[in-house]
């Protein structure tokens, strides 16, 4: 079971690299879908079965479809290299590496395996999440429904052609 996590992690990292490095937006979008599906498998390994399917249905199956539609409709072609200073490019990669090293050091040393053993497996099925959602978090739930309504209206108004 553990080896499955490492396989999915490697897949997710390779796909994330592809998202950042590809010149064509469509390939970046497809790689992002691969990242999301790999993360869904990792969620399953973490006993979060409901969130795994929600990730695939909502994030990979609806939000990314929106991205892919917009890329296809706008016919976003290949990205041309820009004309900014070479200094920024030569300085950028080592700085990113430094940031990555810094974050990894914190994450690796501050959470030792002994003091962070996994707790007892919690019931993360739809029933448990539903109960928590509608008993403790019912106010954020209602607020997000208003948020989605506002987003729908905003998107329709923004994307309309001015006739």
């Amino acid at each position: 079971m553990d080896v499955l996590f490492y396989i999915c992690a490697a897949l997710a990292v390779l796909a994330a690299l592809n998202v950042v490095l590809q010149r064509t937006p469509v390939y970046s979008a497809l790689s992002l879908i691969v990242v999301m599906c790999a993360l869904a498998v990792v969620y399953l390994l973490l006993d979060a079965e409901f969130m795994a399917v929600i990730q695939v249905i909502v994030y990979a199956g609806a939000v990314m479809v929106l991205f892919v539609f917009v890329i296809m409709l706008l016919n976003a072609g290949r990205e041309t290299p820009g004309q900014h200073s070479q200094l920024a490019r030569w300085l950028g990669v080592p700085l990113v590496a430094a940031l990555l090293l810094e974050v990894l050091t914190v994450v690796w040393t501050q959470f030792p395996a002994e003091s962070f053993a996994p707790a007892a497996a919690l019931d993360a099925g739809p029933k448990a999440i539903g109960q928590r959602l509608f008993q403790v978090y019912v106010l954020p739930f209602e607020v997000t429904s208003i948020l989605i309504l506002v987003a729908i209206l905003g998107a329709v108004v923004l994307a309309k052609k001015e006739t």
Partner: protein, 100 residues
């Protein structure tokens, strides 16, 4: 059992890659996708902690994060469509003035 630090390391790598892409890329849609990559990295950290601390609230936070990301993607992509219609360019270096 895979130790917690491994899950957090994966989350950190995804987040830093997303941040790097956000800073360096010039196509607006690709920048947006790097933001989604960062959000995914953070969601993974939440679910890992939820499992290791035995608390379901982490997964609920991810639920709300996904919903908010969906709303944000809808509005952001509508903005990009409107931008493309008015400026004819998806290159972020051309989108540098507020004048029409």
């Amino acid at each position: 059992m895979v130790p917690l630090s491994h899950y957090l390391a994966l989350s950190a790598i995804l987040f830093v890659l997303g941040a790097a892409g956000f800073v360096f890329r010039r196509n607006v849609i690709t920048i947006f996708m790097c933001i989604e990559l960062m959000l995914n990295g953070v969601n993974l950290a939440f679910i890992a902690f939820s499992r290791f601390l035995g608390n379901l609230d982490g997964q609920l936070f991810v639920f709300f994060a996904i919903v908010v990301a969906a709303a944000e993607a809808a509005v952001g992509l509508a903005l990009i469509i409107a931008l493309r219609r008015n400026r004819e360019s998806l290159n972020i270096e051309d989108l540098d003035s507020m004048k029409m």
